[in-house]
């Protein structure tokens, strides 16, 4: 019995592994999967599930009634493959993009030339919920604000890769990228030997170097810590994983303390110890009760004081989230031209800014074919997916948009590409996106591939793990893919 690829429904989408729509696929992999046979594939998937459970790879879903529930990380063993030649172009595009975004953030907290030059509208800034007046005039080390960025890429039916959004606050998922690789090596070793995907494991050391480069005391071995909200956070697994891999302390707010000298210390069994760099995985508003939400017990009183005094580096810098706004997103191509005098290498998804009258009118008329997103939500919350919506939902959204057009953008509903995924005992196409991570300090680094997220429900486009998404290992393969006839 072999896998019947003719039965594999393609439905006019671009599939990352299966040829169709005039694109070439990676022939060898299909043959290799076929050689394993469906029973063996299912057995390997089960082996992967067991590994993940025993390795304790989890993410946490928090509910008021049930407390914290640890869910086993959902993972599909069939990898998503991208040719290295294509990836090199993507990598260049991501570097360019993050470079422009960092210049933009720095500009917003200083001279705001981009506004004075008429490239970026002042009213967008005025309404931004992630602009932090507390950060005006601050010069973070190296002039960089977003040290760790996770940008989401999607591929449309014609094969074009687009940037869907940039996450500049506390992007998560990189630990799953690393763990997925580990599990795939355990369960599909023979495919590994054959394809030799480029390694991803250097991320923790790259991350450490990025953070260490920000230290206010460059002469000493820098004390870097990872600041977590604690075990109830959905990304806690990742916080502890990264701290472990970097050999850093994983601290909670109550472990840190800002003294009268405006330096940050952690409470250790030896007494207080100075901290140089904080990789904070807490949102701005919870970071420092003195500067932001006064009743936040997660943060550290005085942290902003220490940061402004240059005695500690915070990554990402507070206020970096101003560029993590879906309306700002719509301006990124202009920002790249403005700051770098270059054309964007990776395009944006065509985006209608509802604040503009034409765009608003178009959006309202075409809602069935659009995806409407509020400016500052993440996790797939608060958005309307036109093709899957009811008339009532569309009417409700039309009201919301008209009430606050600045807060909404609309994009044509893309036909996200698919990858074969084990569903029951069969392979079915499921939609995917890709989140690479870009590190910026004295130099830039892009992960080799990234985290491929999968919408496990048939036809669904929602890949977020908090909403039932799964994941796959992502292989960047050095050989140009073979043509399949």
């Amino acid at each position: 019995m072999s896998i019947d690829w003719n039965a594999y429904p393609s439905e006019g989408f671009y599939d990352e592994l299966v040829a169709g729509n005039g694109h070439r696929a990676i022939a060898g992999l299909l043959a290799d999967l076929e050689a394993l046979g469906p029973e063996e594939l299912v057995a390997r998937q089960e082996a992967a599930d067991v590994s993940i459970k025993e390795m304790g790879i989890t993410f946490t879903v928090y509910s008021e009634e049930g407390g914290a529930i640890d869910r086993t990380w959902p993972f599909d063993i069939i990898p998503r493959i991208i040719a290295q030649s294509e990836w090199e172009r993507v990598e260049a595009g991501l570097r360019q993009r993050v470079q422009a975004l960092n210049l933009f953030i720095d500009d917003l907290y200083h001279d705001q030339k981009v506004i004075k030059d008429g490239v970026f509208p002042a009213e967008v800034l005025a309404k931004s919920v992630n602009f932090r007046p507390q950060c005006i005039g601050v010069d973070p080390p190296l002039g960089i604000w977003a040290h760790i960025c996770g940008s989401d890429l999607v591929r449309d039916a014609d094969g074009t890769l687009y940037v869907l959004e940039d996450n500049l606050r506390v992007p998560s998922g990189v630990s799953y990228m690393l763990e997925n690789r580990l599990v795939t090596k355990r369960v599909l070793p023979e495919l590994f030997e054959h394809y030799a995907p480029l390694p991803v494991d250097d991320y923790p050391s790259e991350l450490f170097d990025t953070l260490a480069a920000l230290s206010p005391r460059p002469a000493d071995y820098p004390a870097v810590v990872v600041l977590t909200p604690g075990i109830y956070n959905s990304a806690y697994f990742e916080h502890s994983y990264l701290a472990q891999q970097m050999g850093c302390e994983l601290v909670e707010g109550r472990d840190l303390f800002v003294d009268k000298d405006d330096c940050v210390y952690m409470r250790t069994v030896d007494g207080l110890a100075r901290v140089d760099v904080v990789y904070r995985r807490i949102d701005d508003l919870f970071l420092d009760p003195e500067a932001f939400l006064p009743d936040s017990a997660l943060g550290v009183p005085g942290l902003m004081r220490a940061w402004k005094a240059g005695n500690v580096a915070l990554a990402n810098a507070p206020g970096a989230g101003v560029a993590d706004d879906k309306v700002v997103y719509a301006f990124v191509p202009e920002l790249i031209r403005y700051y770098l005098d270059a054309d964007p290498i990776i395009p944006n998804v065509p985006t209608y800014r509802c604040m503009e009258a034409d765009a608003l009118a178009y959006t309202l008329e075409n809602m069935e074919r659009m995806v409407v997103k509020p400016a500052n939500e993440s996790g797939g919350y608060g958005m309307l997916v036109g093709p899957a919506s009811t008339k009532a939902e569309r009417e409700h959204f039309a009201e919301l948009i008209k009430k606050d057009p600045r807060n909404y953008i609309a994009q044509p509903a893309l036909k996200l590409s698919t990858v074969p995924t084990i569903i029951g005992k069969k392979l079915e196409p499921r939609h995917v996106d890709l989140r690479p991570f870009i590190l910026s300090a004295d130099r830039q680094q892009v992960t080799m591939g990234g985290l491929t997220r999968v919408a496990m429900r048939k036809g669904s486009l929602v890949v977020n793990s908090s909403q039932g998404g799964g994941s796959k290992d992502t292989w960047i393969v050095p050989e140009p893919p073979q043509a399949e006839e």
Partner: protein, 320 residues
């Protein structure tokens, strides 16, 4: 090392040790009951007495039947000394310090916890109980071995030791207290043969039987057994061994003066007493003293090295 991490490691070690000890006393009690005549068999209540959780037990159970006691000690999550609750607590403590302990330790602890939960129905049957408890004991031993073989022997390891040996010293004194007291009526000479069995079972609760025979070279009697369990420096579950191990770990830590003083008092109390000369009542008072000392030591550790108790932890965030 972070104070909070030190505390988590300490509690992780205590809970792993607690799960193991609970598994041991249940195993041995089951064996003991098979060896004693029905009329005088003390049943299962002593096990709850050992853990000191009688009020909690009586709140939720009608009687001290085998079924109830075993459920309470293996499965009842309300009882922090039950195997399941202890493993769960060990795992929660380990979870928050996953960056600190070798990942294999987390994987192993996770595996044992999942086993303890999933195989519980088997563990609750008379036929499956032995294998279940054996696996829990071995699991705890594996964790200890893995930690000693792979974890940095730094301050964290010292806190691990503190947790393990404090818990063990506490448990050893409890086992002696309960087991020496109520097994047999004092004057019943016709029951002499069974007295040996009683003390053999005390030794076996701590896997001490073989060690006792090798080290003492005399038959199993109350006096020598008490001396062995309190004062043999080479047996790793004796009270004095635990106290010595605590003192060694303490001596490596900074700011250790008052903790060392408390441990020193414990040691002097132990050295200055001959337990075999104590009658049952005096023995009980002596053990009470030791337990107060153990409690004091815990308080001192917390005061010196652990963080102030956390405030409300109700806030949460979602990251995406």
């Amino acid at each position: 090392m972070l104070s909070r991490v030190a505390e988590n490691i300490y509690w992780m070690a205590r809970y792993v040790e607690r799960a193991e000890n609970t598994a041991r006393i249940v195993t041995v009690n089951a064996n003991l009951l098979l060896d004693l005549p029905k009329g005088i068999a003390p049943g299962w209540r002593p096990l709850v007495d050992i853990t000191g959780a009688n009020p909690l037990f009586e709140e939720h159970y009608k009687d001290y039947s085998e079924r109830n006691v075993v459920r309470f000690l293996l499965a009842d999550e309300r009882n922090s000394g039950s195997i399941l609750a202890a493993l769960m607590a060990a795992r929660e403590n380990c979870r928050t310090i996953r960056d600190f302990v070798p990942r294999e330790v987390w994987e192993l602890l996770n595996e044992i916890y999942l086993f303890a939960r999933e195989d519980l129905p088997k563990g609750m049957t008379k036929g499956g109980r032995h294998a279940y408890l054996k696996r829990v004991i071995q699991g705890a031993q594996n964790i200890n071995g893995l930690l000693s073989g792979t974890m940095l022997h730094d301050q964290g390891y010292d806190f691990l030791h503190l947790g393990r040996f404090l818990e063990r010293a506490d448990m050893t004194t409890r086992i002696i207290d309960v087991r020496s007291a109520n097994l047999l009526p004092e004057e019943a000479t016709e029951l002499r043969p069974f007295e040996t069995i009683q003390w053999v079972s005390v030794l076996k609760s701590m896997t001490a039987y073989q060690a006792y025979r090798r080290s003492e070279q005399i038959r199993v009697l109350r006096g020598p057994v008490l001396r062995f369990l309190f004062q043999n420096e080479t047996f790793p579950r004796s009270v004095v061994h635990c106290i010595d191990a605590l003192r060694t770990s303490l001596s490596k830590l900074p700011r250790n003066e008052s903790a060392l003083r408390v441990a020193g008092r414990l040691k002097r109390n132990l050295e200055g007493t001959e337990p075999r000369r104590l009658n049952q009542q005096q023995l009980h008072a002596f053990i009470d003293d030791l337990q107060v000392g153990i409690g004091d030591l815990h308080e001192e550790l917390a005061r010196t090295w652990f963080p102030p108790p956390p405030e409300s932890q109700s806030q949460s965030q979602t990251q995406d």
